[in-house]
């Protein structure tokens, strides 16, 4: 059908004209800066050389080595930030998925006010990060935040805890991120749940399957493709997590709650080591690429074995 509109390259001039502005914009903002990023990462661009950074000295992979070497200050922090982001991501994604699935199953039931609830769970998702995480920062305040009041009242903690400094900071951010993140999982899973043919459940019930068996044999397999995409997207998003850490913990969250994106920001814009910052961002990108490839490979493997 598309053939009718013209086959030759010349006849698609209109198409090229139409797509040109978007290509140019992305070239200027995505592709060229990425190449410059590689350039900066192998040069010693810092506070002293940045004014003429195009002629900064070439240092090869020294910036990358610094990022990997655990014996240097920056290398140790980079490693720690990776550990932090893995812990953060695993907990946030697991909790977000489990809660999202539970709520999706709940909202898939018939009850009065269901439409209202479906609108309501959108709220955390659509609330701007700057609003949501500042409110959570306020909730976690040690003396005037609402959380400590109940913890103290119930005797769980003896006196108000300072949540946003030190070790507990990471967990405070996890709590806020889970609150903000599960509705997206719930929405996507709910949409998938509604596409499952009801006849399957009926057939199962005739065969005497319990609701647990129905969930295990019908619901979960049906949700699998959607879940795979959902989890891969969550990994990519969470590994890049910045807003929640920056907003709740500020520019210097301390080593215990530092993650790659805040570390890179600090290294580049507070310590003015643009070269090392760029090298660290490229390492981060490589890690994400590897995760994506492994994940898709594993997935393909299991999908293949299922067909057999």
């Amino acid at each position: 059908m598309n053939r009718r509109l013209g086959a030759g390259l010349g006849r698609h001039r209109t198409a090229y004209i139409m797509i040109l502005p978007a290509v140019l914009a992305m070239l200027l903002v995505h592709y060229i800066p990425m190449l410059w990023g590689f350039y900066i990462s192998v040069h010693d661009v810092n506070l002293f050389t940045m004014a003429n950074w195009t002629s900064a000295p070439f240092v090869g992979i020294r910036n990358f080595v610094a990022g990997f070497d655990g014996s240097t200050a920056i290398g140790a922090r980079a490693f720690r930030s990776l550990v932090n982001i893995v812990v953060y991501s695993v907990v946030t994604i697991t909790a977000g998925y489990v809660i999202g699935l539970a709520v999706a199953l709940l909202l898939n039931q018939e009850f009065r006010g269901r439409t209202l609830m479906r609108g309501l769970i959108l709220l955390p998702y659509i609330t701007p990060d700057s609003v949501a995480y500042n409110v959570w920062r306020f909730i976690f305040q040690s003396r005037i935040g609402i959380l400590n009041r109940y913890l103290v009242q119930s005797g769980l903690v003896a006196e108000p805890t300072v949540w946003l400094i030190g070790k507990s900071a990471l967990w405070a951010v996890v709590v806020a991120s889970v609150w903000k993140g599960w509705p997206f999982a719930a929405l996507v899973l709910l949409a998938a749940l509604q596409k499952i043919p009801q006849e399957l459940y009926e057939a199962c019930r005739v065969d005497g399957a319990s609701s647990w068996q129905q969930f295990w044999c019908i619901t979960l397999p049906f949700l699998r493709p959607v879940s795979v995409t959902l989890i891969l997207m969550s990994i990519l998003w969470n590994f890049n997590a910045f807003n929640q850490f920056f907003i709740m913990l500020g520019k210097d969250p301390g080593v215990a709650a530092e993650v790659p994106s805040t570390l890179i920001l600090r290294e580049a814009f507070s310590n003015f080591n643009y070269g090392i910052g760029s090298a660290l961002s490229i390492i981060l990108m490589m890690i994400l690429l590897v995760i994506t490839v492994i994940y898709l490979r594993v997935l393909k493997g299991t999908a293949g074995s299922e067909e057999v």
Partner: protein
């Protein structure tokens, strides 16, 4: 039979309890935000350590609107609001126009490089934002020095940046929307003597309004909410609400009441847009996530 119906009733109760619990968890931070915005400064700074019996509570002791009246006093929130409006509206207009043209081309012409382009559009979404930030900052600085045309801390610099961030998702979403509009419609219009652009403008555009509106709102909200680039690339002339709101907390003290009032104010544009377009946005999000 009776046991069965009482079990069913118990199930209903459990169901509603669970729903209520979810609703409470969702609403809790908003309640705290509204409560904080209505509290007096004294209540927001004291705890029972300083004033005996003063514990944080959901209900303000003496509700006041002073935080809303003073929202602009310690922090120039109205200026930030204006900056955000200009940048977000600019992003919305430019991103929607560019993505409409690109999506139309992708949907209507089988040109060479179409698939490569589509894949590269999707790939940019996976890359960490921080990867672009350092080159950006240095390129902006370089351009300013060499040409005298400033990009850092200007509306154009921010609109340009955010437009390109909004483009990938906008193009993909509009393309799938336009794919749903039959080709015959533009062909018929062109047989009747329309040019390609007129067919797009007068025939396809009105049919695609919901998709276009969804993309427009998406790019507006993107500009309104972005934090990372705004924290580095904006300054006195362009500071946006998403970053400016943090000024309420300083090293010398925090104005939580003012911040909570500001939180409510800066949520309003986003809430309005989502309410108007809720159906399309959710559809787009869900289909975007499930189709990859």
């Amino acid at each position: 039979m009776r046991r069965n119906s009482s079990r069913k009733a118990a199930g209903r109760v459990l169901l509603y309890l669970a729903v209520l619990f979810v609703a409470l968890v969702v609403l809790m931070p908003y309640a705290w935000m509204v409560s904080g915005s209505l509290k007096q400064t004294l209540e927001l700074q004291s705890s029972d350590v300083m004033v005996p019996g003063m514990r944080p509570s959901w209900i303000p002791r003496r509700p006041t609107l002073e935080n809303y009246r003073n929202v602009n006093r310690s922090v120039p929130m109205l200026t930030y609001f204006a900056h955000s409006m200009v940048i977000s509206t600019g992003t919305m207009v430019v991103a929607t126009a560019l993505s409409l043209l690109a999506a139309y081309a992708l949907s209507r012409f089988p040109f060479r490089g179409r698939d490569v382009y589509t894949v590269s559009v999707l790939a940019t979404q996976m890359l960490p934002g921080i990867l672009f930030l350092i080159p950006y900052y240095l390129i902006f600085t370089l351009i300013s020095r060499r040409t005298g045309f400033p990009l850092r801390d200007t509306y154009w610099g921010m609109i340009f940046t955010y437009t390109s961030f909004a483009l990938p998702f906008s193009i993909v979403m509009l393309r799938s929307y336009l794919n749903g509009i039959p080709l015959e419609i533009d062909e018929q219009a062109m047989i009747d003597g329309c040019t390609r652009f007129r067919a797009l403008w007068q025939i396809v555009l009105p049919l695609a309004t919901p998709g276009i509106a969804a993309v427009a709102i998406y790019s507006f909200i993107m500009g309104w909410n972005e934090v990372l680039f705004a924290s580095v690339l904006t300054g006195r002339q362009t500071r946006t609400v998403a970053v400016g709101i943090m000024d309420y907390v300083t090293a010398t003290g925090a104005n939580w009441g003012g911040m909570m009032a500001a939180c409510i104010i800066i949520s309003i544009p986003v809430l309005i847009m989502f309410t108007v377009m809720q159906r399309y946005i959710v559809e787009g999000l869900v289909s975007g996530a499930t189709k990859g």
